[in-house]
């Protein structure tokens, strides 16, 4: 592999003029997806955005397009729709990258895809770092089971862990990650650090004291603060719970000796040159607000943003006929024998209004973030569930 070249900020390709330019805010720079995926220095693309905006589909479409343009790609997806997963050959949640059949390999690339199994990823970390006896002890602990299967940050954390593993394996020259369907896009950035903080925090050290000091002797060295903590915990949670927590924490402590460091590594990976974030939104106030927060947050964290994809944008090819004129014309037809034309005009008026509203929302975003390149994908009547559908999305992303 070649070392990624230095990059100081987000790519800002010059605006290109073409047929669809009119639908975007005037003078705004355009996200050039082909340049992004075609640049050999781009090694990781992270797709993020709030739930329900089409992250998984976008990630898969980017991966397929890059592979068919000659790159060696793996797509790491977290929670794909069933039919999309099937179309990519992802039938089992088995943490193993699988070849996506049907990819056009003419350009010399390849495409693998895998679905994240967060519990298994966590189990594997434990098994890799602890002797079998201790590993079994950890895996059976209720705190561990909760942490590895239902803690809301674990999925995010394990997605990052898996990303790090894939990067280290160095079998692919482009990794496309679909982030977990967090309600808030920001969870994705916060969760790993939060989890790391827990496993290496002040509380952990407090809970660890009895295990380290051993037996009854620890009573003497404890502060009043610790007695109060254990007292309350015992009272509220019960003694068994406290013992489980202590066992869990001491087991993890001997195993990792610094979980936070691990979280920081994944964080650094996200800041590294060669990583590009693609923020995905729908042309709706909530999704664009989340996108704004995310863009600002990425800047704060010095993480490289490639740009924004606005999915499911409505466009009319006949925007020369305004909504007002269309509606007035439809009313002219009331009570006449032209129901088809009346329907077409009403529909067109709705569509034109929707388009205008979406454009206002997009302009809202671009005026707040003028440096962020944007691209749009039109709303399609049908859901995507095969490679051809992904190719269509890929073309729209770059059109």
């Amino acid at each position: 592999m070649t070392a990624p070249g230095p990059r100081t900020g987000p790519r800002q390709p010059a605006p290109r003029h073409h047929g669809q330019a009119a639908t975007r805010a005037a003078g705004h720079s355009r996200l050039d997806i082909d340049r992004l995926i075609g640049d050999p220095r781009t090694r990781i693309i992270v797709c993020c955005g709030s739930g329900g905006v089409g992250k998984t589909t976008t990630a898969a479409a980017l991966g397929l397009r890059a592979a068919e343009q000659g790159r060696t790609v793996v797509v790491l997806t977290v929670d794909p729709a069933r039919r999309l997963a099937q179309s990519m050959g992802l039938t089992a949640l088995d943490n193993t990258p699988r070849v996506v059949a049907g990819t056009d390999l003419a350009a010399g690339g390849s495409l693998h895809a895998m679905m994240l199994d967060m519990k298994r990823t966590f189990d594997e970390i434990v098994e890799a770092h602890a002797d079998p006896r201790r590993a079994a002890q950890i895996l059976a602990n209720p705190f561990y089971q909760s942490l590895s299967s239902s803690f809301s940050g674990t999925q995010e954390y394990m997605a990052m862990e898996k990303l790090g593993q894939l990067r280290r394996a160095d079998e692919w020259d482009l990794i496309v990650v679909d982030t977990p369907p967090s309600r808030s896009a920001l969870d994705f950035l916060d969760a790993p650090a939060r989890l790391g903080r827990f496993l290496d925090g002040r509380l952990i050290r407090v809970l660890m004291v009895p295990a380290r000091a051993g037996g009854r002797a620890y009573m003497k060295v404890l502060s009043a603060g610790f007695g109060m903590v254990t007292g309350v915990l015992t009272k509220v949670l019960g003694a068994q719970v406290l013992r489980d927590a202590q066992t869990f924490v001491s087991a993890l402590d001997t195993m990792f000796g610094g979980f936070r460091e691990r979280a920081e590594h994944t964080y650094q990976l996200l800041q590294a040159p060669g990583t590009a974030f693609v923020v995905i939104a729908a042309p709706e106030p909530d999704a664009l607000r989340e996108a704004s927060y995310f863009v600002e947050r990425l800047a704060d964290e010095r993480m490289p943003l490639a740009g924004l994809v606005i999915n499911r944008v409505h466009r009319s090819a006949a925007s020369r006929l305004s909504a007002a004129r269309s509606l007035a014309a439809a009313e002219n037809l009331d009570g006449t024998r032209y129901p088809l034309a009346a329907a077409a005009l009403r529909l067109h008026a709705d569509l034109t209004q929707l388009q205008a509203r979406e454009r206002r929302l997009a302009e809202h975003f671009t005026s707040a973030h003028p440096a962020v390149p944007v691209t749009e994908v039109p709303a399609l009547a049908e859901d995507v569930h095969d490679l051809n559908g992904l190719r269509v999305i890929g073309r729209h992303l770059t059109a």
Binding site: G52, S146, A329, L340, A344
Partner: protein, 358 residues
């Protein structure tokens, strides 16, 4: 649910069969006091929860609308500053004739605050709680302790449901509680409280608390409503979650079909248009009659828009049939194309009432 009203007929919100003026309570969910609203991201779950709260609050009733994911979506909808962890009045619901309007209160539940409140309420440990916060214990407990976070959130909802006024006649403080719950993908686990804390606490106060919460959630007083749009993925998630909740023995409520667009074409025309078979000559003549001068020039573009609309409508009908198979009452809400404001919330609330959802 009490009366088998057919709330499933599509398009009722558009029709003229408004039920205004019906004075006796006569809804699909009489007896339900905790309305849990879930839905896939992007389907308008928070908006529907707010509209349902408004609908339930008419006729002088008092309703609490709860948010559990800390996004301040309720404050945005009702156009007020971010809400603290306190019950605040956010809206007055319109009254029926000769009856006063009701009140909607809102509460953003924060699990850490809920845990501190719980410690104070049951153990009188307010100060100790603050010390625990400084040590990170509260953060740890609400984040990692299995199921504790969820049991605190659902626990707050059930507390509000059961809360009574002081004094002699001890009425319920809230006639109904509406919870803007986690999305469909997580709702089963979220509500299956006892199973979640089982690994953590087999006995003891947390377990007792979870059991009490579980009792309310599993009672006929609680119903879980789903919000979806007529697209494949949200519908599939809805059907999956309906099955999961039934397996857990929870009462599945109504399915709110959100952002419905009325079809512009009749059945026969629709099928033809979906195939792309649109008579361009007929369309051009019609456009001319309507006064659109560039008729021929623009007819092709409009025909393409019609065909797209028809294809989408055909797919939507298929999704509607799949939802019907779930056998739950369904309510349609129209697409509000100009964005949701307080006015449109009231409109959605009326539409829900008219269909018997509240």
């Amino acid at each position: 649910m009490t009366l088998g009203r057919d709330a499933s007929r599509p398009g009722r919100w558009a029709g003229g069969d408004s039920l205004h003026g019906v004075s006796a309570r006569d809804t699909d969910w009489d007896g339900v006091r905790l309305h849990v609203v879930t839905g896939k991201g992007g389907t308008g779950k928070t908006t529907v929860a707010a509209a349902l709260a408004l609908a339930l609050a008419s006729r002088g009733r008092k309703v609490l609308l709860m948010e559990v994911e800390g996004r301040q979506g309720i404050a945005q909808l009702f156009d007020c500053p971010p809400l603290p962890y306190a019950e605040r009045k956010v809206a007055v619901a319109p009254g029926a004739p000769a009856l006063p309007g009701g009140d909607v209160y809102a509460l953003v539940v924060d699990p850490e605050e809920a845990l501190l409140e719980y410690l104070e309420m049951f153990y009188n440990l307010r100060r100790a709680g603050r010390a625990l916060t400084r040590l990170g214990v509260i953060d740890f407990a609400t984040t990692i302790a299995p199921g504790l976070r969820d049991v605190l959130l659902t626990g707050k909802a059930t507390e509000a449901v059961r809360r009574r006024t002081d004094g002699t006649n001890r009425r319920y403080v809230y006639d109904a509680v509406v919870m803007d719950a986690p999305p469909t993908g997580r709702i089963g686990r979220f509500l299956n409280v006892t199973a979640e804390v089982a690994g953590l606490a087999k006995v003891g106060p947390i377990r007792a608390h979870a059991d009490a919460v579980q009792k309310v959630i599993h009672s006929p007083q609680t119903a879980v409503h789903f919000v979806t749009v007529l697209e494949e993925m949200p519908v599939q998630e809805t059907l999956d979650a309906v099955g999961e909740l039934r397996d857990h023995g929870l009462q599945v409520g109504g399915i709110v079909i959100n952002m419905v667009r009325p079809p512009m074409l009749r059945q026969a025309e629709l099928a033809a248009a979906a195939r792309g078979a649109i008579d361009l000559d007929e369309l051009t003549v019609g456009l001319k009659a309507a006064g659109v001068e560039e008729g021929r020039d623009i007819a092709g573009d409009l025909a393409a828009e019609l065909a797209e609309h028809a294809r989408r409508t055909v797919l939507e009908r298929k999704e509607r049939r799949r939802l019907a198979a779930a056998g739950q009452p369904r309510y349609d809400l129209p697409l509000i194309s100009d964005g949701i404001d307080l006015g449109s919330l009231y409109q959605l609330a009326t539409t829900l009432r008219d269909q018997g959802a509240a």
